[in-house]
Symmetry: C2
């Protein structure tokens, strides 16, 4: 069985995602496994719709098996996000290809960039550029340009290519048995960011840009107050909590460096809005997405310890048409605990259990910030979506 | 110098309070010391306006010295509230009378009720009434009626008289050097609760019922978004936090008994609003005010350990006309650390410091729920209001 793995946020699931599914099917995929983020995203913000809605949309559009990417890796830098997703696809043991969108869609070019990056890591050229106060991506690109003057460095400044490079790096580091494949992104569709903007201003403007079945799901969720996520409802809660940060817990936060924790404490005392807080913490070296992630990790009490390892379990959150067949296969190949029922979490080891409960707590908290507060424990109640 | 002590919330400061000031002055008081609650009140809800505004109104109307009643005693049952306030007035060492409003205003009647209550405590009659599932106040009143059939028990069912009895009990227990005096409440004025209702619906309707100077202060605070407190802005924060309650911390909450902590955890998972949460936790024996206090203590992480002792310091938060003179006197008589500057908290012992910082944290959190988020650290910045 030719099974393709994809890492995604589906924030929300849109035409581009549906198109990717169609293309991998057309190229012979018999099963699509998606490692999917829950309530919090890579850019450090809560997802626009709760996971249950986004999962349903993905299953409806043809995903066969959904695996949860736990919070510590879902809300992380590109490298950590990619490492988490790759580890889960590897842990399933029956994936043949990992497919990801990229602006270039050119594997040779991406591979060349990856080699250049590896050569630049720890180089004097990089150290010099960093010493000039440049951000890490900027410093790295300049070092690459200096050491490899003829290389096309365009992928280094494009967001999907950057993530593609992270996937390639993770696949190499983890010595996966599957083949990574970059697919050129179809830019004729609106991106997730563009759709979220429409959703925020006037949801009706967003519906034409998602598959009709997904639009129906989204409209339904909005009509009962289960979507979208409301920044304004969460803002005071985050500000209040951050004012209680103890200096003892700060160094335990993920991604803390350069004394950013002190900036966070100071800003939390004076900021009168969450945006103001983000911008008060941001520095040239510590970009906005990283600040947002830091703030939400602090709010959710997640720590760097939570991601000291790679994701330690495979939690199935959705089973589509070929899902049962893939699970049957994975039953013989998986190298991580495979959870298909909520109660199975009891058998996890201490570390895995902590991550499992962190994910649940984050989910419960997220659901208080929807237009109508949604009951907690949805993760337990909904169990697995079956299509 | 004839100094009168008063315990109050000033939630908000109104005509009845101004009238009480006038009456104690007319009876010869040369100084008025007020032990005043901060951001959270006895009925288990955040105050309608921040302490700085309420303090200013009280000083303007003639209070000479304001002392802070810290959170553990401010948001507590009548007995604990009274014990905290009495301890602070006693700690000052120069108060001659403690004055409090009551429906009866009849000291002889109150004293008789108090003696009956003491006789009833631990009696079989009380145990029997409680065993029938009656609330504590109801069971107590029935036991008093049974044991003292000729006593007028009306004070036991009236809110100000009940608090008056708590003051009398605390004065007796703490062997204070001042004389407790019950003053009959003037019922021609609107109560705090009635004014808060107007404030919530349409602030302009509230202004005629407070002294004109106070009305000006309140209007000013409202116009810059520093008042009133917004339940709707705090609701999601409280719900989110309560979903994260760990079963380990629950028994440490103040006033937890009868397995109420388990009801709280269950309700926090399903409640879709704070009101719904309150009513889901409430029982016949565990009334609403107690539930509200429990919820906010849980939200603020305050514990029963915080009120294991009586208030351990006198924090001056406002100095009126005779304030300096009273402080001079108290300099020779005080038996608790007397803080007139924020920095003096450094000299407190470990327990006192913990309570001091809890109060500050609660204040910072409260200020995120005003119409416009107010900067934290106001307690430090404003230091002491001087009139």
């Amino acid at each position: 069985m030719n099974i393709v793995g994809i890492a995604a946020e589906f924030n929300p699931f849109h035409q581009g995602h549906a198109q990717l599914f169609k293309r991998v099917r057309a190229q012979g995929a018999q099963g699509i496994v998606v490692v999917m983020s829950g309530c919090f995203t890579q850019r450090g913000e809560p997802a626009c719709m709760p996971p249950s809605v986004r999962r349903r949309a993905a299953l409806q559009a043809g995903a066969d098996l959904l695996i949860e990417l736990p919070l510590p890796w879902a809300m992380a830098s590109a490298d950590t996000f990619a490492a988490g997703a790759v580890a889960l696809l590897k842990g399933l043991g029956c994936v043949q290809h990992m497919v990801f969108g990229s602006e270039s869609g050119n594997m040779a070019q991406l591979e060349a960039c990856l080699q250049a990056l590896q050569a630049v890591d720890g180089s004097q050229a990089l150290a010099n550029a960093l010493a000039e106060g440049k951000s890490f991506p900027r410093a790295r690109m300049e070092a690459v340009k200096m050491l490899f003057p003829t290389l096309d460095v365009a992928p280094l400044s494009r967001s999907n290519d950057t993530l593609a490079l992270s996937y390639l790096r993770a696949c190499a580091q983890q010595k996966v048995q599957f083949t990574p494949v970059a697919v050129r992104r179809d830019l004729s569709f609106l991106s997730g960011a563009e759709i979220r903007q429409k959703l925020e201003k006037n949801p009706a403007d967003a519906w034409p840009h998602v598959p009709p079945e997904a639009a129906t799901l989204y409209q339904q969720a909005v009509s009962v107050g289960a979507a979208p996520f409301c920044f304004s409802l969460a803002e005071r809660a985050v500000l209040a909590q951050l004012r209680c940060l103890s200096s003892k817990t700060l160094p335990a936060l993920p991604d803390v460096s350069e004394g950013i924790e002190n900036r966070l404490v100071t800003a939390a005392k004076s900021a009168q809005s969450l945006q103001e807080l983000y911008f008060a913490v941001k520095t040239k070296r510590y970009p906005l997405a990283r600040v947002r992630r830091l703030v939400w990790h602090a709010f959710l009490h997640s720590t760097k310890e939570d991601r000291a390892i790679l994701p330690p379990y495979l939690r199935v959150t959705g089973i589509g048409r070929q899902g049962a067949k893939i699970l049957q296969l994975a039953g013989r190949t998986h190298s991580l605990p495979l959870l298909t029922r909520h109660s199975a979490c009891k058998e996890l080891d201490v570390v895995a259990k902590r991550i499992f409960h962190l994910e649940e707590k984050a989910t419960d908290v997220y659901h208080t910030f929807l237009p109508r507060v949604q009951p907690a424990g949805l993760a337990q109640k909904v169990e697995i979506l079956r299509f």
